[in-house]
């Protein structure tokens, strides 16, 4: 059952708007040449940070990058390998080094 639009909200019926919120990191990077604009990534993101592009066929807009939980769901469901990438913030990229063979360990 759906009630009528009530008048107090009528002032907003023109439509909502948004401005993508800037953030110090770039969790999601699209490759437009591979992306088919299917919006699967946007529809699966539990934090709802990706919004369908106003231009049909183009990749979604990363509207709220700071709200990314870095789960990778968007990459997991993308049908076009390489169309979307998720990267940890630089400060969170752990360091790794070559192993020290047991024969070279001084002790």
């Amino acid at each position: 059952m759906t009630h009528e639009n009530d008048s107090c909200a009528a002032g907003l019926s023109a439509g909502y708007s948004y401005r993508p919120v800037p953030c110090s990191t770039r969790p999601i990077i699209y490759n437009q040449s591979l992306c088919i604009g299917c919006n699967r990534c946007a529809s699966v993101c539990q934090c709802d940070i990706l919004l369908p592009s106003p231009v049909k066929g183009e990749h979604p807009i990363v509207a709220y990058p700071g709200e990314c939980y870095y789960c990778g769901a968007c990459v997991m469901v993308c049908p076009r390998k390489g169309a979307i990438r998720l990267e940890h913030p630089l400060m969170n990229q752990a360091k790794y080094v070559p192993v020290i063979p047991e024969s070279e360990v001084l002790n």
Binding site: M1, T2, H3, E4, N5, D6, S7, C8, A9, A10, L12, S13, A14, G15, Y16, S17, Y18, R19, P20, P22, C23, S24, T25, P27, S43, C45, Q46, C47, D48, L51, P54, I61, A63, Y64, G66, E67, C68, Y69, Y70, C71, G72, A73, V75, M76, V77, L86, E87, H88, P89, N92, A94, K95, Y96, V97, P98, V99, I100, V105, L106, N107
Partner: protein
């Protein structure tokens, strides 16, 4: 910055009303299983999920180990042994009911998951012959290889499988819909004069439409609070361990409705916040949880010894997975931090001792020194299936060239968290407080049930799935026993709708943002409710938060339903913070198991204070009552008394569902 038109329709002001027998709030592991249990019993079911059910919740993109599957055919422990061990390990500030349900029914839920298309066995024989694998059932085990009650699982397959099953069963799933308030009926008659729950209010987070879900019974599965002490306005999604979406709105709506809470005074010094002090979980070198029992080396490449509970140095990798001489089993897992001697398993030498002996930082996890099957199961299966590891860790590190045969991964700090937090930076972690419930997982409000991480002292994924199913089954029984949906006051619905949409009418230039309020709340909580608390500080905290509620909440502004959702979250975080302050005031002692210290009541756990202090809000008045820690009674007896049908018809996967 470009301004865009919102891609979804504007439905602010519209209301949709619908009804069902059983309403489930939250579509994580617990919620999906609650809905499935009720639908299997022929009830009409609605599931309300704020994100998208396919991959939402803590286990949305996976989890790697399933604890306490005591009834699996390879297990050498009983449900009673493990459930009681948890109760004792947690000094009785423990959810015995939840633990026992997990130990008793968890394996049945695994079989369900397999039936729905999830992967629980090494069907491709990738690890054939490995010490942790049973070659007959193809089950793979973690931690204690002798007793075999923790399974390694392919958790990334679970949420998609559950989502398909919900669809198949005809559950009406409302994705992108946040539940915001409970419908509570106070009418004499129908509920015997007691409060009862008749469903919930919600908002569509794409369109702003107001929804009224009326139901005979309701199950809350909205996980636990967050962002109470930890907030970073830049990388909000990384502030906490659990997903951004879960901030304890179930707690907040429960509080407003009069639900009783336990252990809300408990919080631990933070362990994870990759927005600052820590790294992404499982993404650094360590030897806990997913990475157990990785070989660790120091900066010189010298191996760090593992010892058993008696300090005996273990010579082989294999020995790290067996109990000590004379010990039946050991506990490891999500809520086990520093176990008692009785349950302590193998562990690397204590950090201070290592430094004393000259081991040099930094340390690394060096999988190259492990047997091939152990290396491959940690890097490739566990790191891969564990939440948030498949893409940003396993795939990205591999793309960057990380090879576990050739490289070792650095560890930061001393523990598996790779972090060092301050005392006032706190977190709900390791079995924190939550909603109190009885043996039916029913709250103090009739027709209102709770499951998963929203219950007090909850455990992990296996507990979420099994308590979810159990609550769904009990909610279905209660729904089928009543003929009409409890009464709803129209004025309650109108008030809720107004509350939810109010920020759309505040002008940006007059308002404050949700981030500013969250920042202020978390700073207030660090100041007034940090590591050491006292009456005057706590009262100051309540005063300040009360002022935020009066003066700042009406000034929150938003331009679209996504903003509204984040605003509602912060309003709920404010409420949860107030619950924590009240709970801290009510406990007039300090307590080790609750990680709770009061400078005005420094005595630790005096015997007369060893009980739960239950807390609820009755129309603005805070009520407390005491409840003994062993209120759940003998686990086996009480369980069996209430679940004869289940034991006869379903246990062990004996029922063939359509």
């Amino acid at each position: 910055m470009t301004e865009y038109l919102w891609p979804y329709p504007n439905e602010a002001g519209q209301t949709e009303e619908t009804s069902c027998d059983v309403l489930v709030l939250g579509g994580g592991l617990a919620g999906c299983f609650a809905a499935i249990a009720a639908a299997r019993r022929g009830q009409s079911v609605i599931l309300v999920e704020k994100g998208a059910t396919e991959k939402s919740g803590s286990g949305g993109t996976g989890f790697d180990h399933w604890e306490s599957a005591c009834t699996n055919p390879c297990s050498k422990v009983t449900p009673e042994e493990i459930a009681w061990a948890y109760v004792r390990e947690q000094d009785w500030y423990s959810n015995g009911i939840g633990h026992y349900i997990e130990c008793r029914e968890g394996y049945d839920r695994l079989l369900d998951l397999e039936h729905f298309g999830g992967k629980i066995r090494d069907t491709e024989d990738e690890f054939k012959g490995a010490e942790f694998r049973d070659d007959e059932t193809k089950f793979m085990f973690a931690y204690d290889y002798r007793n075999r009650f923790t399974l390694r699982v392919w958790g990334s397959t679970f949420k998609p499988a559950l989502t398909r099953e919900l669809k198949r069963l005809g559950v009406r799933v409302y994705d992108r819909t946040e539940a915001t308030g409970l419908i509570v009926s106070r009418r004499e008659g129908g509920c015997g004069g007691k409060k009862c729950c008749g469903g919930a209010f919600a908002m569509d987070v794409h369109t702003g439409k107001f929804l009224i879900f009326r139901a005979k019974s309701t199950v809350m599965c909205m996980s636990r609070p967050a962002r109470v002490w930890l907030f970073n306005p830049d990388t909000v999604g990384l502030c906490e361990f659990r997903p951004l979406q879960s901030i304890g709105s179930g707690h907040a709506m429960g509080w407003r409705a009069g639900v009783e809470f336990a252990m809300m005074e408990k919080s631990v010094r933070a362990e994870f916040s990759a927005a600052g002090r820590s790294f992404p979980p499982y993404g650094t070198g360590n030897n806990h949880n997913t990475w157990y029992a990785a070989t660790m080396v120091d900066a010189r490449g010298v191996e760090i010894p593992y010892v058993d509970r008696d300090g005996r140095e273990l010579k082989t990798v294999s020995e790290r997975y067996y109990p000590a001489p004379g010990q039946k089993f050991f506990l490891k897992g999500g809520v086990i931090d520093n176990p008692k001697y009785e349950y302590r398993g193998p562990e690397t030498l204590d950090f201070d001792e290592l430094i004393r002996r000259g081991y040099q930082l930094p340390f690394y996890a060096d999988l190259s020194r492990m047997p091939e099957s152990e290396r491959r199961v940690i890097w490739g299966m566990m790191v891969g299936e564990e939440a948030k590891t498949k893409i940003p860790i396993y795939q990205n590190y591999t793309d960057r060239g990380f090879d576990p045969e050739k490289h070792m991964l650095q560890s930061y700090g001393t523990g598996w968290q790779s972090a060092n937090f301050l005392e006032q930076e706190r977190q709900f972690f390791g079995a924190p407080g939550g909603v109190m419930h009885d043996w039916d997982l029913q709250t103090n409000i009739d027709g209102l049930y709770v499951a998963g991480d929203e219950t007090f002292a909850s455990d992990c994924a296996g507990a979420a799935c099994s308590t979810g199913y159990y609550a769904g089954r009990k909610a279905a029984e209660s729904a089928s026993a009543i003929d009409s949906i409890p009464h709803m006051e129209r004025s309650d619905a109108e008030a809720e709708k107004k509350r939810l949409l109010a920020p759309l009418y505040v002008k940006e230039e007059d308002g404050i943002s949700w981030k500013e309020l969250n920042m202020a709340v978390s700073k207030a909580m660090q100041n007034y409710c940090g590591g050491v608390r006292c009456e005057a500080l706590l009262m100051e905290g309540l005063d300040l938060l009360g002022r935020f509620e009066q003066e700042m909440v009406p000034r929150l502004y938003g331009a679209n339903p996504h903003d509204l959702m984040r605003i509602h979250e912060v309003m709920d975080i404010l409420t949860v913070s107030q619950i924590v302050l009240h709970a801290s005031l009510a406990r007039k002692c300090s307590s080790e198991p609750l990680f709770f210290r009061r400078s005005d009541y420094p005595e630790m756990d005096p015997p007369q204070m060893r009980h739960h202090i239950l807390l609820c809000n009755q129309d603005g008045e805070i009520k407390t009552r005491e409840l003994s820690l062993d209120y759940f009674g003998d686990l086996k007896t009480e369980y069996e008394r209430r679940n004869a049908d289940y034991m006869k018809e379903e246990a062990g996967g004996r029922k063939e569902w359509q």
